[in-house]
Symmetry: C2
Subunit: 363 residues, 2 copies
Amino acid sequence: MSEQNRAPSSPTISEVADAAGVGRATVARTLGGYGSVSGPTRERVLRAAKQLGYRPNAIARSMTTGETKTLGVVLADVGNPFFAGVLKAFTDTVHRHGYDVLVLSTDENLAKEADAVGVLVDKQVDGIVLASAAGRDAPPAHLELVQSRGIPLVLVDRLFDGTDLDTVVINNREAAFEAVSELIGNGHQRIGFVWGPVTVEPATGPRQMEAIIARSLSSDGERLRGYLDALDKAGIEFDTSLVTHVLKNEQQATRAVLGMLALVDPPTAIFATESDALVGTLLALRQRGLTYPDDVSLIGFDDSSWATVMSPPLSMVAQPLEQLGTVTAECLLERIAADTAPVATHVLEATFVPRASVAAPRR
Amino acid sequence: MSEQNRAPSSPTISEVADAAGVGRATVARTLGGYGSVSGPTRERVLRAAKQLGYRPNAIARSMTTGETKTLGVVLADVGNPFFAGVLKAFTDTVHRHGYDVLVLSTDENLAKEADAVGVLVDKQVDGIVLASAAGRDAPPAHLELVQSRGIPLVLVDRLFDGTDLDTVVINNREAAFEAVSELIGNGHQRIGFVWGPVTVEPATGPRQMEAIIARSLSSDGERLRGYLDALDKAGIEFDTSLVTHVLKNEQQATRAVLGMLALVDPPTAIFATESDALVGTLLALRQRGLTYPDDVSLIGFDDSSWATVMSPPLSMVAQPLEQLGTVTAECLLERIAADTAPVATHVLEATFVPRASVAAPRR
DNA sequence: GTGAAAGCGCTAACAG
DNA sequence: CTGTTAGCGCTTTCAC
């Protein structure tokens, strides 16, 4: 009541020192819990600090220590369940080690990504996690900025060819292979692949496909490779018209699938490599009055609880979101603690979750 | 090649000044784009800066300016699609104004929330957004910490009674009223409410219910009020056994719904107030071999694309996630720019999306 | 065991 | 128009 118009600024270490009748250094020692301070002095300092509601200014501390206890995460979109899930596990893990995280979204835009990395460098973060929007054969220039500043960096979800960076990914190729093989094992020969790497000039054969893959996100490319592997192993001929290369949103997926379904020899099964692709595919089926698995068998990527309540439940490839987050965190923390470990690529395992969206083709 | 062992440290403003043969201040002026600098000098500074790859140290800048250009967001769980969606819109908006965001999760734990807020205060963020885990009648102590430091604060999704804080919420009560009325309008009298406020002693009547609501999250309480309103308006008697008060996860929702379904007079319709509650409900129906809307009508909360591809598609209450994020951002930015606007509570509108999960009750 | 003092990199006020 | 100077709040030698 008598404190009206209290200055909205925090007490500094000097004020605490004055209040306790000691020097700044003594306060720092007491509160920092290092060096040695006599019992009574200690008491007085503690009391004065509590009294004033003292809280150390982390910015000032960073200024002298050179560490911010802040990590940066750069990803496509926090709103995407995949990234949101990875981020959750990541933040939880690093938080236990005293770090907080600055999250920046790029919307898969390389310029925004460069900006984001720049901001993190400027803000002196102690480490950076990046899910880059750049093609696997084109590690972007901002990586060098980070390295030249000696900031620990871990790549997640998407790797680069020919660079020497800590990376955490999943076995996309094998996972896709398994899923598509499941379809083939059920007798399917015409299998649609929804969401290959985005490109304006679709390949006419597996050979050109490799060129496209080299330029694309590693996650996209690897899933496509797995698809190609499975086809190849079964001796099924590759057909470009069964692979979409459109912009990644539901509407585009729906359009693309509608296109496939209109082919003279339409797919009897579809492998959707991401959540939105799957939704777009389901929408296309509905639009055509088709059901799964009767008319078309379905396997999706990125399992989530709704796949479970669909009727019939959807067979899915499940990515270990939580593990991706924790392994990335551990990898980065280790690199921060001691830059000694050899650079490594951690490949986590996706798991195929069979449910009821796959059956033998109609005819 | 000759740069092996390059020092992993950033050039400072002094180094640029030396390289350009001018004083530090001139460099600051040139790069900061304030004050005035002569053409040629400007040139030299710019060249030197680019040459050395100079980047201003944001920590040092914050030290003198007192602003960090960083905002803090404290919410239950980044992995939750609701919060992830709000966060995305929020970060996008503030980013356009030069701010980055530190994201902390509380898992609905008040102690973690206090920690999180403390960290943000210590890190000198320029503003804070909080979706508090505290009951609406019990604004937590850390709010005062924030205010005593003069840090702009905006509450989101959950409000407090009797405090004077900027707040952004949706019209939960009206939205729930509308949804439940829809059910009643279709002839339902026994309507289950999945996920009321968590409590160990369920109310035996509407009166005690009010006491429970006063202690709970405002979002939970308001939705329950809307349900009660609708029942009341239709003259339907309240039945405690149709309202769950369990921990918020799928399994608990399933168990609770299974319990309701086993009543002598089971519900013919269910209103699920959150995404996981809905999934849990669907799982319970399946377990009992029941279908919707034939056996039980369904309305969920938090619309998302999968509700669209369910068969039949689910009727849902859609929250304006994006708007929640942007309005929260604008509100906070305004408060930061000028602390003049009167404190306000922004109530955004949820919209009922009718699809095909509601029908008349069986008998 | 304790205080004084230097310095982190930057901005801003003040001379020149 | 430009250089010098004084801090921001903290940690960290270094004497006492």
